[in-house]
């Protein structure tokens, strides 16, 4: 009996698939913790904002679900053979914006200029750009100040707008929140992407529908015809909404609920390594720390103390107990996707707690010392719990850690203002290249570099190597320099790496969708069974 039922169901399914009914609306209800901040594609440089923008707008190129760069509005690009300072982009023909206007080189020039305006949040990614020129309707040249082999990596979230639409609606400059401004582009869109904005109520509900004229119709599954996006800030409620079938797909599944979701009928959890590494930093440069028990000296200034602390971190225990298996222990502050990462760098430190304790004693702190650890409590997965584990591990080698956990809004200013002695930080690498890490975390703090380097580490030679990476076009020579910088970073032990985060997406059984390392679902890749 059951068999015949199955057969009947199968036959019915085949019938459905063959009938025009199959192309009926397939709605995907999607929830994550936070909402996009604005629909203006150049006004915010932030994950959830880019994720929503990616459904509607497109760049010249983008990262696919595996993190690889693929063509989008440009079909090919390369540096000019006779001039390494110029990148030439060939644009995709016959692409139209959602309002029907054709996409041309003028729009590219216009958009890249808009993204460099003072009120743009994307301008830091384009600081090397000197000029953007139209060659013909489907060719654009981008000239940089000196060769920039990484320009492409900086364009993955650089969205193209329609110049006429933007001008007509008075949004030629990105929205300036600081200037007390609200603009047309902050709530209206006109992109080339696979989905079009139907309605949006901030923090409540955003509805998108498939773009019937999308250029990539034959290239992507495009099974979803409607997306309903609801931010649900409470993690328990988000999981409940998935379990009760009110949403089909959620990001940010809390680690303690992974098993419950995976065990539930008709649901699954898909997991992949995230492009985000978690580590601790120490102020190595101050003559005396504010919060420590040592008078007139800074224990972190001694590299042996730092190495001992690195040895004392039991990364496997953190993975097993704090992260419930959901982490990838590491000994280097770069995620594995990034150019410059290697197995050797990643290898965990050898040595036992006893060795570490001995090293601390040899450094002159046989009686130990105390120091304050600053930790965020709402930024990374189980951030505060990792710090608590750290307190216990450090106590075993005589370092008494006083933990202060704060919301991220209060934690990050400590690092930016260089006032923390010992702190937790996480880092994602949107360019997928080590230079991004060096620029912000290793270079001496100056006007435009080292803004997150609270360690006080400053080495002229390393700084010079970092700057040279920006214009080195010989990739082998460049990678060699990257290796040298990493050696210095590892040798000096200015950071104590912990692990790479693991991303979890919860979804209905019938959905086929890979986890994207930047936590950016691109729904045109999603297929349904």
């Amino acid at each position: 009996m059951e068999l015949t039922m199955k057969k009947a169901a199968l036959a019915f399914g085949v019938l459905l698939a063959l009938s025009p009914l199959a192309s009926q609306a397939e709605t995907l209800r999607w929830a994550r913790a936070g909402d996009s901040l604005t629909m203006d594609p150049h006004a915010q440089n932030e994950g959830p904002t880019h994720t929503l923008a990616h459904q509607i707008y497109e760049g010249l190129l983008q990262r696919d679900m595996g993190g690889q760069i693929i063509p989008a509005l440009a079909t090919s690009w390369s540096a000019l053979p006779d001039n390494p300072n110029v990148w030439r982009f060939t644009l995709r023909p016959d692409v139209t914006f959602h309002n029907g206007a054709p996409f041309t080189a003028d729009d590219v020039v216009y958009s890249l200029n808009r993204a460099q305006m003072p009120t743009s949040s994307m301008k830091e990614l384009l600081t090397s750009v000197k000029e953007v020129r139209k060659v013909d309707d489907l060719t654009v040249d981008v000239e940089t100040n000196g060769p920039n082999p990484l320009l492409i990596n900086n364009l993955t979230n650089m969205f193209m707008m329609d110049s006429d639409w933007t001008e007509e609606n008075g949004v030629s400059a990105p929205q300036d929140v600081a200037g007390g401004e609200t603009t047309f582009a902050a709530s209206n869109t006109n992109g080339t992407g696979a989905f079009m904005l139907v309605s949006r109520s901030v923090d409540e509900k955003t509805v998108l529908k498939a773009n019937p004229n999308y250029w990539g119709k034959d290239e992507f599954p495009l099974d979803v015809t409607e997306i309903i996006y609801t931010p649900i800030s409470s993690a328990a409620t988000r999981v409940a909404a998935l379990l009760s079938g009110e949403v089909d797909f959620i990001q940010d599944v809390p680690v303690q609920d992974l098993k419950r979701v995976d065990d539930a009928d008709g649901l699954k959890v898909v997991t992949a390594a995230q492009n985000r590494v978690i580590f601790f930093g120490m102020n190595t440069a101050a003559d005396d720390l504010e919060s420590d028990s040592v008078e007139g000296a800074n224990p972190f200034a001694d590299v042996n103390v730092r190495r001992a602390m690195n040895m004392a971190i039991n990364r496997d225990a953190i993975k097993k107990i704090v992260m419930r298996g959901q982490s990838d222990p590491t000994n280097v502050i770069t995620p594995p996707f990034v150019n410059g990462w290697s197995e050797e760098l990643n290898a965990l430190p050898e040595g036992t707690t006893a060795d570490a304790k001995q090293m601390i004693a040899d450094a002159g702190y046989a009686d130990g010392f105390s120091v304050t650890l600053d930790c965020p409590n709402d930024r990374y997965i189980n951030d505060e719990a990792i710090c608590q584990a750290m307190v216990g591990m450090m106590a075993r080698i005589g370092v008494e850690v006083n933990l202060i956990a704060r919301p991220k809004a209060q934690h990050f200013p400590l690092i930016k203002n260089k006032t923390s002695d010992f702190y937790m930080l996480g880092w994602g690498v949107p360019t997928f290249d080590s230079l991004y890490i060096f620029n912000f975390l290793v270079h001496t703090t100056t006007e435009d570099r080292g803004s997150w380097n609270n360690t006080g580490f400053s080495n002229e030679e390393v700084d010079a190597m970092i700057v040279s990476l920006e214009s080195e076009t010989d990739l082998d020579a460049r990678n060699e320099t990257i290796g040298k910088i990493w050696s210095a970073v590892q040798e000096e032990q200015i950071y104590l790496p912990v692990h790479n985060q693991v991303l979890n997406w919860g979804m209905k059984e019938g959905i086929t969708f890979d986890v994207q390392p930047e936590d950016q679902p691109h729904f045109k890749f999603l297929s349904l069974q």
């Binding site: 936070g34 901040l37 604005t38 203006d40 006004a43 915010q44 440089n45 932030e46 949040s121 830091e124 990614l125 929205q175 929140v177 600081a178 200037g179 007390g180 401004e181 609200t182 603009t183 902050a186 709530s187 109520s201 901030v202 923090d203 409540e204 509900k205 609801t230 931010p231 649900i232 800030s233 409470s234 328990a236 409620t237 409940a240 909404a241 379990l243 009760s244 079938g245 009110e246 709402d378 919301p407 991220k408 809004a409 209060q410 990050f412 200013p413 930016k416 912000f440 703090t445 100056t446 006007e447 435009d448 570099r449 803004s451 997150w452």
Partner: protein
């Protein structure tokens, strides 16, 4: 003498309005003193690639480096013109955001207040009259859950039972809404009403328990009075004694507490709205706190202050109408009885 009464009420209103303005100014002042400790909005606004120069520039433009009293006077000056600025987080005018989200919060608060009052009074009377009954005892002891469990836990529990396990009610959001002018209401659609149930119970449970216990205690007190005994002795039916005489005399303290609790309902809504992703002003406030969205935070705190001030005023005035002792005491120059 009705003329004098009107005059007295008018004087009370004027005096209370004066006090209210002082209270609101103080609320804003305290808020601004606190804001310096909630964090730095610049980080959220600029993203991680920002340079030191960008940060300095933005702080300058936002006026964050001005002394707090300057920021405060600027805020008060603009607030007097009903200008609360632009949200750092959403880039929308704060007054628009509040106007859009206030209906959700007020409808939830109203539903919770009705739930708490209606059920609280009915159960309070029941447990007072059937003091020894097992049902009354059961209601009383299970009502302890309402007071002792934190709101978010009750919310999650209800979601677990009624949304996940039973699948009867939605776990989040407000369902479909209908716009009447600028007011969006969830009262007119089936999904809107269904969405309202769990948040209403979560938000109103504490108040319901409180009112129930208050009504019960007051009823028991009144039922012991001589005039009730005389009423019974005269052979008046229970219904008349209980509702006509006893209940009426328990209402003054109930109204005071219920009124003040209504203010708390609006303020407590923060937790309930977060658990149920209810798109009201409470959720807006929580999001603002995470983002250090100072314009939204300051406007919200002023709004809550205003709600409390208005409710207190209404409660005070309602005494004058309900309680004959206070009402007539005015004329005898003897207000405190």
């Amino acid at each position: 003498m009705p003329g004098e009464r009107v005059l007295f009420m008018f004087a009370t209103v004027i005096r209370r309005l004066g006090q209210s303005i002082v209270v609101l100014a103080l609320v804003a002042l305290v808020a601004f003193l606190i804001f310096r400790y909630v964090g730095d909005p610049v980080d959220n606004l600029l993203g991680q690639e920002a340079t030191v120069a960008d940060r300095v520039d933005l702080r300058e433009r936002l006026g964050l480096d001005d002394p707090w009293y300057e920021q405060y006077t600027n805020f008060v000056y603009r607030a007097l013109n009903f200008d609360f600025g632009i949200s750092y987080r959403t880039g929308l005018p704060v007054s628009d955001m509040i106007a859009k989200r206030l209906p959700a919060t007020l409808e939830l608060a109203l539903a919770s207040a009705i739930f708490a009052l209606a059920l609280g009074v009915v159960l309070g009377i029941y447990t007072a009259i059937k003091r020894e009954g097992w049902l009354a005892q059961f209601i009383l002891s299970s009502s302890l859950i309402g007071v002792s469990l934190p709101t978010f836990l009750i919310g999650i529990l209800l979601i677990w039972i009624f949304a996940v396990e039973l699948g009867w009610l939605p776990s989040f959001g407000r369902g479909d809404t209908v716009d009447i002018g600028w007011w969006s209401t969830g009262f007119l659609t089936a999904s809107g009403l269904k969405s309202l149930v769990l948040p209403t119970v979560t938000l109103g449970l504490y108040q319901m328990t409180l009112i129930m216990r208050l009504v019960r205690a007051e009823m028991l007190e009144v039922l012991r009075q001589d005039y009730i005994r005389f009423a019974r002795a005269r052979g008046l039916p229970d219904r008349v004694v209980n509702f006509g005489h006893a209940l009426k005399n328990t209402l003054v303290p109930v109204i005071t507490i219920a009124g003040l609790q209504l203010g708390l309902i609006v303020a407590f809504a923060i937790v309930t709205e977060t658990v149920f992703q209810w798109p009201g002003v409470g959720l807006m406030f929580i999001n603002a706190v995470y983002f250090v969205d100072i314009p939204v935070m300051s406007a919200y705190l002023l709004l809550v202050g205003l709600v409390f001030v208005i409710i207190n005023l209404v409660v005070d005035l309602s005494y004058l109408i309900i309680d004959p002792r206070i009402r007539d005491g005015i004329n005898r120059g003897n207000v405190s009885t």
